[in-house]
């Protein structure tokens, strides 16, 4: 267990470094002068030179890379002041510390993710299990049909419809907005309600289908039949024997979805005009803001790697045949 954690965490650090290096050098293959971009249209060569120096662009690429990487570990000093670790550099565009921007935006993303996750796990797995339990019945066919239709929906399609129904036309709810949880839990909840509902609808449909199909697959397993042949009650067989086997694929997908959502739910954020990590990433990318883009990417990669390790730990917990090594 400890060996596993040490091995995997050190592996994660190496991968983070490689991702950083790869993005950094890939970005520099773009034939653009970042100082020029940063300066705007009417820019004198002197200004460019100053900016270049401020941003550190006058140094060789390898030095720039080294400074960037050491900054993450031990912080860096910029003309604006000290940027404490983990320092992801200064945005070319706004001149803010990238880490501060991320810290600023992350609560919105976290709220979206956690709330959505609770809803779609509850409803998705619930209806999926129900459909598997009642497989072959009208209810199952209804659930399967509905989840098929809903899972092919898109947030940018469903979002505006819900907004115009519940907000613009009827005024039943306010427009979605991001209120910090600690300021007012009630407002936080009301502000997030519509984005959660819309996002969760589509995920719910996907989880329903997945839970149903893996459960039906598990119910065909021979060991499930053995449990029935022992006289165990159907409900017990369903929730102990079949459900345990379904957990592996479900946990895999949750891990993937969670890391995707934590590194920014771009479409949801744009649809409901929420300023989260996803928007930050798109903004950085559009303005070719290297430090910002790299910062957000590394931030996302961090979640992917951590959740990967968490999912592997979950496998070992679920299935005794999995050994952590």
């Amino acid at each position: 267990m400890l060996q596993f954690l040490i091995r995997r965490l050190s592996g994660a650090v190496v991968i983070m470094f490689l991702i950083g290096a790869f993005t950094f050098f890939l970005f520099y293959t773009i034939p653009q002068d970042f100082a020029q971009l940063s300066c705007g249209k009417n820019c004198s060569p002197e200004n460019i030179a100053v900016i270049r120096e401020n941003l550190g662009l006058d140094k060789p690429i390898t030095t720039q890379f080294w400074e960037f990487m050491t900054g993450i570990v031990s912080g860096r000093d910029f003309p604006q002041g000290h940027c404490s670790a983990p320092c992801l550099g200064v945005s070319f565009d706004s001149g803010d510390f990238v880490w501060d921007s991320i810290k600023d935006r992350f609560p919105v993303t976290l709220s979206l993710t956690v709330g959505g996750l609770v809803i779609f796990l509850l409803f998705g797995l619930g209806t999926g299990l129900m459909a598997a339990w009642k497989r072959g019945t009208v209810l199952d066919k209804l659930v399967s049909g509905a989840s098929m239709v809903l899972s092919s929906f898109q947030i940018y399609f469903l979002g505006p419809i819900v907004l115009s129904l519940l907000v613009y036309n009827t005024g039943w709810l306010d427009s979605p907005k991001a209120v910090p949880f600690l300021d007012s839990p009630g407002e936080w909840f009301m502000g997030m309600l519509i984005p959660w509902a819309v996002m969760a609808t589509i995920f719910t449909a996907q989880y329903t289908r997945m839970a149903r199909s893996t459960m039906i697959e598990q119910l065909q397993e021979e060991h499930v039949r053995t449990a029935r042949a022992k006289g165990m009650r159907q409900r017990y067989v369903f929730f102990r024997y079949a459900w345990r086997g379904s957990l592996i694929p479900i946990v895999t997908i949750i891990g993937m979805d969670l890391s995707a959502l934590l590194s920014g739910a771009v479409v949801t954020e744009f649809t409901f005009d929420l300023a989260g990590i996803g928007r930050l990433a798109v903004e950085g990318s559009l303005s070719k803001d290297l430090p910002l883009t790299m910062g957000v990417m590394l931030f996302g990669a961090f979640f992917i790697l951590i959740l990967n390790i968490v999912v592997d730990l979950a496998y070992a917990y679920i299935d005794p045949r999995v050994r952590l090594a």
Binding site: Q3, I6, R7, A325
Partner: protein, 370 residues
């Protein structure tokens, strides 16, 4: 016949034995196991095959029997060079092919063919039967008289399939018919040796005999040598003139059919034969010895020292743990009947005064019942 023969014409039996087509000396295959911390390294090996000596004569049928994990399938795959041996020497028609490269192997590959156990997964479901059978000829650039297609139809007929089914797909055939397709494919290159790995064990009882008879016809009429790998001792006995018994990666006894089935010397061979459930047809009472081993075969990762069978053997003594018994002709054995045992059994399978029951649960229950 193919014109790319690498084999000298058989010159008739020498000293009563057929000329050797394939011989294997000290054949060894260890599959490494990796692990350790912090850097993964080789920490052990599955000793699947460990120093196997074996030979197959021209046109001879040799059986290879043993239980799961004894290395019989791995041996087959090493001989067909689907696996690279860790050590040892494989000589085919006088040529060392143990580590031959792809290019060097090419002419030999067409002469050694393989038939697999599972007729469902060993045929490409997207290819027609015709394509499956002709592709080995095309790959090897063989152009038989009358064209490839005519040859394929001949082969289909030979294995008892309708030549009209040339354009059908494998899923349109039953299990037994698919195994026939596998045989036709193996025959397409006029092989000298066919390694058949459990060729009938996936088939229904009534179909097994069809395929066994087909293989026997192929072996006898076309003079093809067979290495017949199977766990079913009755089928191997029916098919093979000579056979080798394997246990945990080693050959423990080898000899002709009569020696192995009627005059076995190795305790494991005795146990194996005694375990086969036989239909008794006449009113005679059971007159075969009864031996019940205990437990399962040990792990090939940490095989027992000395004789590998000693942990389950009723005759084992201290010597068995320290000295590995060589595979030799022991006194009382006929020539070519070799046994690897320090304390061999009497050469008979008749019932003993007292059954050998090593299984503790069985022994307890039987004592209770008395």
């Amino acid at each position: 016949m193919s014109d790319k023969l690498t084999l000298p014409k058989p010159q008739g039996p020498v000293d009563g034995a057929a000329e050797t087509l394939l011989s294997v000396e000290g054949l060894t295959k260890h599959f490494p196991i990796y692990g350790g911390f912090p850097i993964k390294r080789k920490v052990g090996a599955v000793q699947a095959v460990d120093g196997v000596d074996l030979s197959v004569g021209v046109g001879e049928s040799v059986g290879l029997v043993g239980e799961s994990g004894c290395g019989k399938s791995t041996t087959g795959r090493l001989i067909t060079r689907l696996l690279e041996p860790t050590a040892g020497k494989i000589t085919y028609a006088g040529q060392d092919i143990s580590h031959a490269s792809r290019r060097q192997l090419a002419p030999v590959r067409s002469e050694i063919q393989m038939i697999f156990q599972d007729p469902y997964s060993s045929l490409n479901p997207r290819q027609t039967v015709g394509t499956i059978i002709k592709s080995p000829m095309e790959v090897n650039g063989i152009n038989p008289k009358g064209g490839i297609e005519k040859r394929v139809r001949e082969l289909l007929e030979l294995v008892g399939l309708n030549p009209e089914h040339y354009n059908r797909f494998p899923h349109e055939f039953s299990g037994g018919q698919r195994q026939r397709i596998g045989v036709a494919r193996a025959l397409s290159l006029n092989p000298k040796l066919i390694v058949a790995d459990e060729p009938v064990s996936a088939l229904d009882v009534s179909i097994q005999a069809q395929v066994v008879n087909l293989l026997q016809k192929v072996q006898e009429e076309m003079g093809i040598a067979f290495l017949f790998i199977a766990h079913d001792l009755a089928i191997v006995r029916h098919f093979s003139q000579r056979l080798a018994v394997m246990y945990l990666g080693k050959v423990v006894e080898v000899g002709d059919r009569d020696s192995i089935y009627n005059r076995p010397r190795h305790p494991y061979t005795h146990a194996l034969l005694s375990a086969v459930p036989e239909v008794t047809l006449d009113d005679e009472t059971e007159d075969r010895e009864r031996i019940r081993l205990s437990g399962d075969v040990p792990s090939p990762i940490h095989p027992p020292s000395g004789c590998r069978f000693r942990t389950r053997c009723w005759k084992a003594q201290d010597k068995c743990a320290t000295t590995e018994p060589p595979l030799v002709q022991i006194s009382g054995n006929s020539a070519n009947h070799l046994t690897a045992c320090h304390f061999p059994e009497d050469p008979t399978t008749e019932a003993r005064a007292e059954d050998i029951v090593l299984d503790p649960a069985l022994a307890a229950l039987e004592k209770e019942g008395e």
